[in-house]
Symmetry: C2
Subunit: 460 residues, 2 copies
């Protein structure tokens, strides 16, 4: 029997105790957004420090201006080191009356589909996921006395509150946090039987476009027909951004965009992500992105231009016959690997200025941006983790990008120089941030086993 | 010496007494929007009834659910009858501290340009203008014992408050108010030396366009690139309404539009209405209307499509990465002679529906409209009034349309079947609705003389 098999057997044998430990952590109401729970947040952090120290790791609770950050390190002198990230803080529990059981009294129950579930605030987001990794380390250390790779654990207490103190902590502890790769356990599986690794996150450029025509609002009877209307001007600009083929027409917008390899695209095309199951639930049926691209591409590997808000003129009850002076649009562009946020900002602004008629002026009020972060498709650690997950779940994981941003991953790249593999075992129906949050027992159990396999694979 | 010359001489000789009578009316604070002044409104109406009765007219104060309406009639059995309309109510006087003299204590003062001015609330809008007509009748009756045409006087007390009770009063008194033409004295001259007759008013069609895509707001990271955005859809629609030549592209929009005769267009082209003096003061320099059309055409004889307000998505501080579910635009179309509001509404709606992509739905929340009202350019009374004004002012009046609506004129046409000539002697610097409202003594004096000449001319 290999070391790996013996460790996996220990995980199975120790499952009840693993659940008990998770329950102890779930009983601490570490709500980070409510200062009344500050002491509970510290208690949750301290609980983790104590638990990680009991494994033989060098663990400490690091004070910040907000809630403390847990760090722990093994010091084996292994050839490789991974940094694991999670968070011990949880969302508020309102509305309490919608919970079937007290949110901080974890229960093991049978779900309507027969699956065993752990019900508690934080069970899925993110205490249950954090403990999959801790329990994997515990099993390894218990069975073999060592870990396949050196491990740094970083568990913060402000993720649900914006992670405001994490970037400066990373910058101040670059040396202590150095590792070959970051592992984040705060995401979902593709579905309950298919694991997933998220290897890219789109970046973002945000801007606010303010078009001014006349120097005051005008009466549409007196001036109507002669005076420029900024809502017409801004509408023409927004209307010109997308071609009839769904492509963004802004010159230079796609500069640098990297195409995924054909085999990755083929994998995506084979996924069961269809207009029916993806858009149907929100009342839509037809993807509006670039023609010839799959839904996965549209939402993860292709950039977007989106008007998030737009307004001008009279927006109250009834009619008011005004030609407004000002019209405004808030926009965000989702960026993909290879795009420079400053270049995209400048391209968008040049496009707007180029479409501006005489007499109209434009101001841009933001222009902030952050680039996409992505692990190269041929990164060897990606293949190793994928193989480990395939062994555990009996099928290869889906390797996808996330359409949105997870800011900490950008910080890991920018501040620590680390690529990140996001491997999580949550499910879409876990009701994170909502009443009756749950984490499937299978997610917890096979999640632990998955980390055991990934740690072994990353050592190779 | 002709009757006309003797009447004009009497106007000149009687001017001081005319001013005294106007001052008596100006001293009554008949603010219609403030119920605290209801008794003052009635007092102003009664003052007019008494004054008109003193001329030998059959005058009465007609109760309404709001402020009373003054009517007076001559019963000479003349071949023709005119109906004169004005209003005795005035705007509130706030902010009082900006007045140089008490608003209801009229003063005769020298203006900075040397002109004599009557300063008081209502001096220009509309008591001074009403009294130009009353004094003209008084002079005629005093000198000749009769009027050249029979006269019906209609002076309401709710013009500044929406004229809410006038339409039903017109409907209930069709017979008593029958006349060959309506005369309204509530408008301005072209400039201080050039009179004007307004012979058309644009109509209006108002609608609210609500475009819905997804059944809820979506996260722009997760759905961005695939899900339709109603702000993009609505922008494309609004952006498609106007061609690059300024023409409205909606099929059927211009159906029925009547072109003014070439000589009228030539007169308009000769007016000193330029981009510099019309658009310059509001910070614009270039008319955006149909290429090849004059500014007068753009703002009075051509229809418009205007977005008065538009909104959707997140319009608060900062950024929110949302794809909104709903976008809304409030629009008004200004209509000209020959256009049917229902036809325009249907054309606009068909255009919107025709530009709606799959998955999007649209609702229209209004669609109300009223047609333009216009006197035919070859109406003989128009030529008579124009000749009379030319005799008084030494140059022909400008014959223009108004870009906006004056609802009562529509009611005169619809309910009483009367065309309206709007002849007023106010000036753009009269500060109506503002502190220190004034009416030039020349407007008052030559206004009385103008009506004497118009009454004579209309009898011919």
């Amino acid at each position: 029997m290999s070391d790996l098999d013996r460790v996996l057997a220990a995980v199975d044998a120790d499952l009840d105790a693993s659940i008990e430990r998770l329950f102890a952590l779930l009983r601490i109401p570490s709500i980070s957004t409510d200062r009344a729970y500050a002491a509970e947040c510290r208690r949750a952090g301290q609980w983790l420090v104590d638990d990680l120290a009991s494994l033989g790791l060098t663990a400490r609770l690091n004070d910040t201006p907000g809630h403390p950050i847990v760090t722990a390190r093994s010091e084996q002198g292994a050839a490789r080191r991974v940094m694991f990230y999670g968070h011990y803080d949880v969302q508020p529990v309102d509305p309490l009356e919608l919970w079937g059981s007290p949110p901080f009294e974890p229960q093991l129950v049978d779900g309507p589909d027969g699956s065993r579930r752990i019900v508690a605030r934080g069970s899925s987001d993110d205490k249950g996921q954090v403990m999959t990794f801790v329990e994997a380390c515990r099993a390894y250390l218990k069975v073999t006395g060592s870990l396949p790779v050196d491990v740094t654990v970083l568990v913060e207490g402000e993720e649900e509150n914006g992670s405001g103190n994490l970037p400066s902590f990373l910058a101040a502890n670059r040396g202590k946090l150095a590792a070959d790769i970051a592992l984040v356990c705060d995401t979902s599986m593709w579905n309950s039987t298919t694991p997933a690794i998220t290897v890219s996150l789109r970046g973002m450029m945000h801007d606010e476009i303010v078009v001014t025509c006349a120097n005051r609002d005008l009466h549409s009877g007196y001036y109507g027909g002669a005076a420029a209307n900024p809502l017409h001007v801004l509408s023409r600009i927004v209307g010109a951004v997308h071609g009839s083929d769904g492509r963004i027409t802004i010159p230079g917008f796609y500069d640098g965009v990297v195409e995924p390899p054909d085999e990755v695209k083929a994998q995506w095309a084979a996924l069961d992500l269809t207009p029916e199951n993806f858009l149907g639930p929100v009342g839509l049926s037809q993807p509006i992105g670039e023609q010839g691209r799959s839904l996965v591409e549209m939402t993860t590997s292709r950039p977007t231009f989106e008007v998030n808000g737009m307004w001008g003129g009279y927006i109250g009850e009834g009619a008011k016959t005004v030609i407004p002076s000002i019209a405004t649009a808030k926009i965000t562009c989702r960026l993909v690997a290879g795009q420079d946020p400053v270049h995209v900002r400048d391209a968008v602004r040049a496009f707007v200025r180029g479409h501006l008629p005489a007499d109209c002026s434009v101001e841009f009020l933001s222009g902030d941006g952050s680039p996409a972060v992505a692990v190269a498709h041929d990164n060897p650690d990606l293949a190793k983790a994928a193989g480990a997950l395939a062994d555990e779940w009996g099928k290869p994981p889906v390797t996808v990008g996330a359409g949105g941003s997870i800011p900490i991953v950008g910080h890991f790249k920018k501040t620590l120089g680390q690529d990140t593999l996001l491997v999580g075992f949550a499910l879409d129906d876990d009701r994170i941030h909502s009443p009756n949050e749950k984490y499937n027992l299978a997610s917890f159990h096979k999640g632990i086993r998955s980390w055991v396999r990934i740690l072994a694979a990353l050592a190779e």
